[in-house]
Symmetry: C2
């Protein structure tokens, strides 16, 4: 596939199963997708691996990269920088891979501004009850943390409508396939096939006489 | 599926394999699609069946239907009317079926104006040579008729870019599946899921306190 890969933005509430979906998508279609890993200046948490969960960098290095236009988007939260390194994304797209960006709404907006051809997908649970159950079921958080995540989901839900697609994650297996179909068919978008259309038109023009 | 079906406009050069693709799509997924049959005032040709190829009606009946807003689009070519009857389309959409409209560019534009949510797909051969071969291969037309079709394809190709998607019909089997995926994923479009998004947002709002 010589065609340039797509930029796919995946956002969704904490607990919507975004991470699992993405991992499964990469496992099933390793040749077609690449996952962009964000850089951050925050400290690694227990269990987090550098280069896998995040690229953990110093504030100086991060600001150096900002200065050299090294991020396709970046933001500062609670005193820490988070950003999407440009080089990896561009390289993978050149290889024809569709690059997945797991970022939140502000980042999504910035990427869409810079790359209008990016695909914005919001992943949501079928209903709020399911989200609450999944968050409790993980058993990794205190009731206060769960309440905080649900409150944040409520806030984020106001921006859902800024996304182009809504993917309801009801069943992992079918949601993965739907996500794969959703991304794959974007390659048929006319705006990404202008060259093909022009070539066809040029070829056919010899029948005009 | 309580959700309303989509309106899917399929256009493409004569010989691009549109008819075969549509028949195969209906055969494989009879529960999901319905094919809109156009009405016309022209006389049936040998082998054409009323209600299958076209609804053959009188000029008086056609104009009566125009008067009662009975068409979602209609046009007049070489002295004959052609139109898409509204009732069938609406009924099938209400049943949740995605309705396929095999119409040409002028009709497509009119439908898109009236139904902005309609999906516009252009079906094309991989290259002009393939189109010429397919047209000759059918063995049903004179060289003059084939030349006329190729000339028309060259003219139509200028409007390809008005479509939202370009589907290259290189291999029937994979093109049918790609077309099915392309249509299916449209159901994830946010604009068609506003109610779901609003319901989710309303459910989550009780966690805001």
């Amino acid at each position: 596939m010589a065609e340039k890969g797509l930029l796919v933005i995946l956002s969704g509430f904490s607990g919507a199963g975004k991470g699992t979906l993405v991992r499964e998508l990469l496992r099933r279609y390793p040749e077609e997708y690449a996952l962009s890993v964000s850089a951050t200046t925050r400290h690694p948490r227990t269990g987090e691996t550098d280069g896998k969960d995040y690229f953990f960098v110093t504030k100086e290095r991060f600001e150096e990269l900002i200065g050299s236009d090294g991020f396709i988007e970046y933001a500062c939260y609670v005193g820490n920088y988070y950003g999407t390194p440009r080089e990896y994304v561009e390289h993978q797209r050149e290889l024809g891979k569709d690059v997945l960006l797991e970022i939140e709404i502000q980042g999504a907006r910035k990427v869409k501004e810079a790359f209008p051809e990016a695909v914005l997908i919001f992943i949501a649970p079928p209903d709020a009850g399911t989200l609450a159950e999944r968050l409790s079921g993980r058993g990794t958080e205190t009731p206060e943390q769960i309440a905080g995540r649900l409150k944040r989901a409520a806030e984020e839900s106001r921006c859902m409508q800024d996304y182009e697609y809504l993917l309801i994650n009801d069943d992992l297996d079918s949601a993965v396939e739907r996500l794969h179909d959703l991304i794959s068919v974007q390659h048929c978008r006319m705006e990404l096939n202008r060259l093909t259309a022009e070539r066809l038109s040029a070829e056919l023009s010899r029948y005009l006489s």
